[in-house]
């Protein structure tokens, strides 16, 4: 199969890869570009560890074929802060001790980030619904929800 040349913006920088079409965006990010903050859990769209923002919307990068990323804007958790400064959500996760092993956290933060853009003042229950597609095997979710709620509160006041 002939390779395709695919260009997209990754965390604000233009990147170009050469790949056959049958590989996923997850494969390209991890294996070609060394973007290791995007994790592979299930490979079937269920767990959310491979979440990236595609033009601002959370998607499972394990279910996006590489050519479908062409010309799109891709954001990983590293693209949220600017340089050394953490994004407020990242800070909240640290402050609330919301991470244990950390495997689910990049996807969790991206999902929460996109959700808060659309719902700046959610209830706790809405936060639970919003992250229902991101599985965490460690924390029991309570501190994750606390962390997200703390940022949501700040946004509404601000």
């Amino acid at each position: 199969m002939t390779d395709l040349v695919i260009a997209f913006t990754l965390n604000g920088r233009l990147r170009e890869v050469r790949t056959p079409a049958h590989r996923t965006l997850l494969d390209v990010l991890r294996d070609d570009l060394g973007v290791l903050e995007v994790k592979e859990g299930c490979g079937e769209g269920v767990c959310g560890t491979c979440t990236v923002l595609l033009d601002g919307e959370p998607v499972s990068s394990c279910l996006v074929l590489a050519p479908r990323a062409a010309g799109r804007r891709i954001t990983t958790v590293r693209g949220l802060g600017d340089g050394d400064a953490l994004h407020p959500l990242q800070e909240a996760f640290v402050a609330h001790g919301a991470a244990q092993c950390g495997f689910c956290i990049p996807g969790m933060i991206l999902t929460a980030c996109a959700f808060l853009e659309e719902h700046p003042a959610p209830s706790r229950d809405e936060i639970r619904q919003a992250i229902a597609g991101n599985l965490c095997r460690c924390t029991g979710y309570t501190k994750i929800i606390d962390a997200i709620a703390s940022v949501a509160g700040r946004k509404t006041r601000g």
Binding site: T51, L65, Q129, A132
Partner: protein
């Protein structure tokens, strides 16, 4: 596991897409949101030699009001349905149904055309189209044809789509005043496919009399099932909880589900009855509100 390599085409027009599908026959598959197809590729349950990406076909993204009907292009994403964007607001039943699909990432990419073409027996949107007597528009080498929902779903993962045919969109009736609707479903875990889902549409003739009821169930057979017995029993009746619940009792006898790892046949029949009752009660209450509004 990576998918088996395939040749990838991203045609710019529907004619080109159909020509490619015709040229490669059984070897080719259309790609929409990829939320059912990509897992099949990486599990190697599907091994197409050629993939025809439909995502560049702008004409499949249209949503428009056509008098009493709503046209929804095949590439309209579940998230757009869920948000009720633009003209989609005319059929809010889609909003409730789409919100129940998978997780937010599935909804960001999955399309209504893909959901109908994939025809999972437990999927919500096929049941909605079946409940509303929608029409699926197909385009192929022989031109366009309109297939009523009842004829479109042929079996589990099997539809009336012929060789080199693609779904271009679906036409649904707009629900007027005096019509209420509801979707109820049960699933084991958040984000799972429903074990059973019930879609009910209730039309009132007057506050005390039902004109017509339509119920479709997913997860109780190979295709979304209408419940003609329940529907007939309620025409002309009072829309009170007792009457609705009694009629819904008939749902269990109208379906013949198979048991599987998710639920036994008798549990699915139980869910058919319970979810039909809940959906009918909510739909009737909404119909009453929309009458006076």
């Amino acid at each position: 596991m990576p998918a088996v390599p395939f040749e990838y085409h991203a045609p710019a027009t529907l004619e080109e897409a159909i020509a490619l599908l015709r040229e490669h026959g059984d070897e080719a598959k259309p790609l929409a949101g990829g939320q059912s197809l990509v897992p099949l590729l990486t599990l190697r349950l599907a091994r197409p030699a050629v993939l025809v990406d439909l995502n560049h076909l702008e004409e499949l993204r249209a949503v428009r009001r056509e008098g009493d009907a709503l046209w929804i292009g095949a590439l309209v994403r579940h998230r757009a349905l869920e948000r009720g964007e633009g003209a989609l607001r005319a059929c809010p039943l889609l909003q409730d149904a789409a919100a129940l699909i998978g997780n937010v990432r599935v909804r960001a990419l999955g399309t209504i055309g893909g959901s109908l073409a994939h025809a999972d027996p437990a999927a919500e949107l096929p049941a909605v189209v079946q409940a509303l007597d929608g029409t699926v528009a197909l385009r192929g080498p022989q031109g366009e044809r309109q297939v009523p929902a009842g004829d479109f779903f042929v079996g589990a993962l099997t539809t009336a789509l012929g060789p080199a045919e693609v779904i271009v969109g679906v036409r649904l009736p707009v629900l007027g005043p005096g019509v209420g609707y509801a979707v109820e479903e049960f699933s084991r875990r958040a984000g799972d496919f429903a074990v059973v889902a019930a879609v009910a549409v209730v039309e009132l003739r007057s506050p005390g009399e039902i004109a017509r009821v339509r119920v479709a169930l997913a997860g109780v057979g190979s295709t979304p099932r209408r419940l003609p017995g329940v529907e007939a029993a309620l025409a002309g009746q009072r829309p009170d909880a007792e009457t609705l619940r009694r009629a819904a009792g008939g749902a269990a006898g109208e379906v013949d589900p198979d048991g599987d790892a998710h639920a036994s046949a008798s549990y699915r029949r139980h869910l058919a009855r319970v979810l039909t009752a809940r959906a009918l009660e909510r739909a009737a209450a909404m119909a009453a509100r929309r009458k006076t509004a």
